[in-house]
Amino acid sequence: MKLIIAYIKVERLNAVKQELYKNEIYKMSVTNALGCGQQRGYHETYRGTDVEVNLLKKLRLEIAVNSEFVEQTIAAIIRGAKTAEIGDGKIFIMPLEGCIRIRTEERGEEAIG
C-alpha cells in the first residue's frame, strides 16, 4: 500500500478528479496548502506598498492506494494537472504500512478502497 501526496494547482482539481474517477479511484482527501516552488509568486499592492507573495495557493491531495494502483493513479493525476507550465505541482509516493476502515474495523488492502 502507498500513500500518494500530490500538490496541484487549485483550478485543476476538477480535472484531476475526473481523471481519477475514470480510473475508478474514488477516494481521496484534499487540503489547501501554500507552496513555495519553482514558480515565482506575484505582487500585491496594499496602500502603496508592494508585497511579494511567494507562498502560492495549492491543493494537497492525499490518496491511499494498493501498490498495483500506484502507477495509474500517478498517470491520472498528471493527465488532470499538467499544463506544462511552471507551478503544475508535484507528486510524492510514500510507504503505507496499515489502513483501517473505522466503520467496519477492516484492515489492510480491503480497507483502502
Binding site: V10, E11, N14, N32, Y42, E44, Y46, L59
Partner: protein
C-alpha cells in the same frame, strides 16, 4: 380698507407659511438623498456577497468608482441632458442645457425653483444619487469576468449620456411624458435602463468559466451570505428615499401611502419568492428570498403613489413569483448573471411599468407598453454598441487564467480576506 390690510398680512403670512413648507419639503428631499445614497452600499455588499471571495475587491472597487463616475458625469452633463428645460435639440427626444451646474441666483434657485418644493441643489443631488444606480445594476451582472478599465469607460458613457437621454423623455418633460407615460420613481428610467445595459453586457461577455459545463448549469456559490443580507436591508432602507423622495415633497397623504405600498410590495415579494422557490427546489432558498424582496421593491416603483395597499400586495406578490422564474429562465438560456440583476431590475422593472398601466387610473396600458419597448430598444442598443466597441478595442473580458485566479489578484493585486484560508476550485 382694513380688509385690504388684513389681506396683506394674510398674504405675508402665506409667504412665510410656504417658506416653511419649502424648508420642510426641501429637507425631506435631502434626507431622501441620504437614503438613496446608502443604496450604493447596498448594491456593493449584495453583489460582493453573491459572488466569490476572489472577486470581492474588484466588486467593491467598481461600486465605489461608480458612485464617483455617476455624480461627476451627472454634474458635468447628465443633469442638463436629463432636465433640458426648453433647450431641446431634437424636439422632446434630446436636449442639453449646457455644461456644469448653474444654480439660478436667489429665489429662482430656491423657492421659485420647480414650484416651491425644493431647491436647485437639492434637486441635483437627489437626481445625481439616482443616476449612479443605473450603472451599479450593470456592475453586478457583469461581475467576476469583466475588465475593470472597460467597465469604467462603459459606466462613464452609459451614466453620463444614455441614462439622462432616456430619462429626459419622461422626467425631463420629453415625448413620453407628453404621452402620459407614468414611471413614478424609476422602474423604467432607472431599473429597466440598467437592466437592459446589463443584458447587453451579459450577452457580449458570455458566462463565467465553469458556469456551464457539458450541457449542465453549475451553481457558483456566493461567498458571504451575511454581506448579501446587509445589502438587501440597505437597499430596502434606501428605497424609502428612492420612492419616498420621488413624491418630491413631504405631503403627508402621498408620502405615507408610498411608504406603505413600498413596504407591502417588498414583503409580498419575500413571501411569494419563498413559496415559489421552496416548491421548485424543495428548500427554503435565502438567495431567492433576498431577490424576492428586491423584486417587490422594483415592482412597486413605477406606481407606489397611485395604487391601493391591496394592489401593492398583488404587485409585490407577482414580482416575487416572476423573479424566481426569471432567475431560472435566464439560467436556462445561459445568460449568466451572478447576482440576479436581470431578473430583479429588468424583468420586474418592466413588470412594474406594465402594472402601472393595469392598476392606475388614467394610465393607458398601451402608452406604458410603448415606453417599455422604446426605452428597451434604445438602452439595449446603446449599451450593446458601447460594449461592442470596447470588445473589439480594449477587450471586455479578463484572461481565463486571471478569471480563475480571481480579479482581485489579477486586476488589483489585493486580496479581500487576507489571512483567511479560502478553498475555491471553481
Amino acid at each position: 380698507m382694513f380688509l385690504g390690510i388684513s389681506s396683506v398680512k394674510a398674504a405675508e403670512s402665506n409667504v412665510m407659511l410656504s417658506e416653511q413648507m419649502f424648508t420642510l419639503n426641501n429637507l425631506w428631499i435631502l434626507i431622501a438623498t441620504v437614503l438613496v445614497f446608502i443604496m450604493h452600499l447596498g448594491f456593493a455588499t449584495l453583489e460582493a456577497g453573491l459572488t466569490r471571495a476572489k472577486n470581492c475587491v474588484n466588486i467593491l472597487f467598481k461600486n465605489v468608482m461608480t458612485v464617483a463616475i455617476g455624480l461627476l458625469t451627472f454634474a458635468l452633463v447628465g443633469f442638463n441632458i436629463m432636465y433640458p428645460g426648453n433647450e431641446w435639440t431634437i424636439v422632446k427626444w434630446f436636449g442639453f442645457a449646457g455644461f456644469g451646474l448653474n444654480c439660478p441666483e436667489g429665489a429662482a434657485g430656491l423657492i421659485n425653483y420647480n414650484g416651491g418644493n425644493y431647491s436647485y441643489y437639492a434637486d441635483f443631488i437627489f437626481q445625481g444619487m439616482f443616476a449612479a444606480t443605473a450603472a451599479t445594476i450593470i456592475s453586478g451582472a457583469v461581475a467576476e469576468r469583466m475588465k475593470l478599465t472597460s467597465y469604467l469607460i462603459f459606466c462613464t458613457l452609459f451614466v453620463g449620456i444614455v441614462y439622462p437621454i432616456v430619462g429626459s423623455w419622461g422626467w425631463g418633460g420629453g415625448w413620453l411624458s407628453d404621452l402620459g407615460f407614468k414611471d413614478f420613481a424609476g422602474s423604467a428610467f432607472v431599473h429597466s435602463v440598467g437592466g437592459w445595459g446589463a443584458l447587453a453586457g451579459v450577452m457580449l461577455l458570455g458566462p463565467r468559466s465553469g458556469k456551464y459545463v457539458l450541457n449542465q448549469s453549475k451553481a457558483i456559490m456566493g461567498h458571504n451570505m451575511p454581506l448579501a443580507a446587509i445589502g438587501v436591508f440597505m437597499l430596502w432602507m434606501g428605497w424609502f428615499g428612492f420612492n419616498g423622495g420621488s413624491v418630491f415633497s413631504a405631503d403627508p397623504e402621498a408620502l405615507s401611502l408610498v411608504f406603505v405600498t413600498t413596504t407591502m410590495s417588498a414583503v409580498a415579494g419575500i413571501a411569494t419568492a419563498n413559496i415559489t422557490s421552496w416548491i421548485i427546489s424543495k428548500k427554503p432558498d435565502l438567495s431567492m428570498v433576498l431577490n424576492g424582496c428586491l423584486a417587490g421593491l422594483v415592482g412597486i416603483t413605477a406606481c407606489a403613489d397611485a395604487v391601493t395597499v391591496n394592489e401593492s400586495l398583488i404587485i409585490g406578490a407577482v414580482s416575487g413569483v416572476i423573479v424566481v422564474l426569471a432567475v431560472l429562465g435566464f439560467d436556462k438560456v445561459r445568460l449568466d448573471d451572478p447576482v440576479g440583476a436581470l431578473s430583479v431590475h429588468l424583468v420586474c422593472g418592466t413588470w412594474s411599468v406594465l402594472a402601472t398601466g393595469i392598476f392606475c387610473e388614467g394610465i393607458s396600458f398601451a402608452t406604458q407598453l410603448i415606453g417599455v419597448v422604446v426605452i428597451g430598444i434604445v438602452s439595449f442598443a446603446s449599451a450593446y454598441a458601447i460594449f461592442g466597441v470596447l470588445k473589439v478595442t480594449l477587450g471586455i473580458r479578463v484572461h481565463k487564467e486571471e478569471e480563475l485566479r480571481g480579479l482581485d489578484i489579477g486586476e488589483h493585486g489585493l486580496e479581500s480576506y487576507s489571512g483567511f484560508q479560502i478553498f475555491d476550485c471553481q
